[in-house]
């Protein structure tokens, strides 16, 4: 019988008593609530004239791509399956919900979230809406796929094709290489 080695994210959480900062795997980390995330997403959504949604997606992608790429390099993770599993696990570890890649290729991928901090937080705060709000999640899946293939930020277009905030059972994301 074959055995399966499950890859698990090794959490390196430190608190620096001098600066009073927390770091997770070498990157400063901070707790924030769903009110904060919802209001950031609302600001991004309202700032249509300045591509606010894209700014938040890009902010997320740049932030998480650093973390994931650094982790893969530091822990010498090169196997595709391991990288996918770790990217899914890290998102969950941060409290942003669940993430599962349905398929992954260098040119395209699809992923879904059965639970989403941003969507469920938005619903708790304001209720449903008919357009996606998870710009942070869109940035994360782009970051994850770029990190998996060792590509720079901005390598993928992301389309959120259905959303928990709009009443769907899951949020679904489609990614295409630019």
């Amino acid at each position: 019988m074959a055995t399966e080695q499950l890859t698990a994210w090794v959490i390196d959480h430190k608190f620096d008593r001098e600066t009073c900062r927390h770091s997770m795997n070498g990157f400063d980390a901070v707790l924030h609530c769903h009110h904060y995330a919802s209001l950031y997403c609302q600001l991004a959504d309202d700032a249509e004239q300045f591509n606010g949604r894209d700014l938040l997606k890009r902010s997320s992608e740049l932030s998480f791509l650093n973390v994931l790429s650094n982790y893969f390099a530091e822990h010498e993770i090169s196997d595709l399956t391991d990288r996918i599993a770790l990217a899914e696990e890290y998102w969950q570890m941060c409290g942003f919900g669940t993430l599962k890649f349905d398929h992954v290729g260098e040119l395209s991928a699809a992923a879904h979230m059965n639970h989403s901090h941003v969507d469920e937080g938005w619903i708790k705060k304001w209720g449903n809406r008919d357009k996606p709000v998870n710009f942070i999640g869109q940035g994360y899946v782009a970051a994850a796929l770029a990190a998996i293939y060792g590509l720079p930020a901005g390598s993928y277009d992301v389309y959120e094709t259905q959303s928990i905030v709009s009443g769907a059972d899951a949020s679904c994301f489609s990614l295409v290489r630019k």
């Binding site: 901070v30 707790l31 924030h32």
Partner: protein, 200 residues
């Protein structure tokens, strides 16, 4: 008994945020995330530097508001939590102690190494922050105007909770009874950030 900041920081900095099977972290009556600080800094930096200069104050006000609501609801969740009762509860004799304790927790959880340096009950509070992640947007040189929007919003919220009347989960009353002005910032070249909270 006076509030012992070091005891609170030592204890509360050890509280772990662990996600459940749904990948969510329900805590203090809200859902929380533990994300890299760059996520929040990147957006604040990009949005305030993307808008037309005449719209920048409006964008900044919305970033402050995000923290104001966050600080109000999460702050209430914290000061009514079991963790608070266990660590801070024995030190609390009045509203002012709650505020001092809240800044010790604020420090312990990595939002800002901060403390109250002046407090006129019900009227005014001055907070100093000696290290905070929002200053990290500047790596060389100084900004013309400060950008610690999160500390501004949360500081106003803490005064709302202390002196703004009964907590209102809808945020319709009690919230925004105070406002905060940041008068110094590490990001502007000052040794510390200074935040002055007064009645709105």
């Amino acid at each position: 008994m006076a509030v012992d900041r070091n005891t609170i920081i030592d204890a509360m900095s050890q509280v772990k945020a662990t996600s459940n099977n749904e990948g969510l972290i329900p805590a203090f009556n809200v859902l929380v995330t533990q994300a890299p600080t760059t996520l929040w800094n990147n957006f604040a930096d990009l949005i305030t530097n993307s808008v037309d200069p005449d719209l920048k104050p409006a964008a900044e006000a919305l970033l402050v508001n995000a923290a104001h609501e966050c600080g109000y609801h999460t702050g209430y969740g914290i000061i009514t939590s079991e963790e608070w009762d266990a660590v801070c509860g024995p030190m609390i004799e009045g509203v002012e102690d709650v505020l001092h304790g809240a800044y010790a927790v604020f420090t312990a959880w990595g939002w800002a190494k901060s403390e109250i340096v002046e407090l006129i009950p019900g009227e005014k509070m001055v907070v100093r922050a000696y290290d905070y992640y929002e200053a990290d947007v500047v790596q060389r040189g100084n900004l013309d105007s400060p950008c610690a929007y999160m500390i501004q919003g949360v500081s106003a919220a803490f005064m709302d909770l202390a002196y703004g009347g009964q907590y209102d989960p809808t945020g319709k009353t009690g919230l925004r009874t105070f406002k905060c002005e940041q008068v110094k910032g590490i990001e502007c070249g000052d040794d510390y950030g200074e935040f002055v909270v007064t009645r709105a």
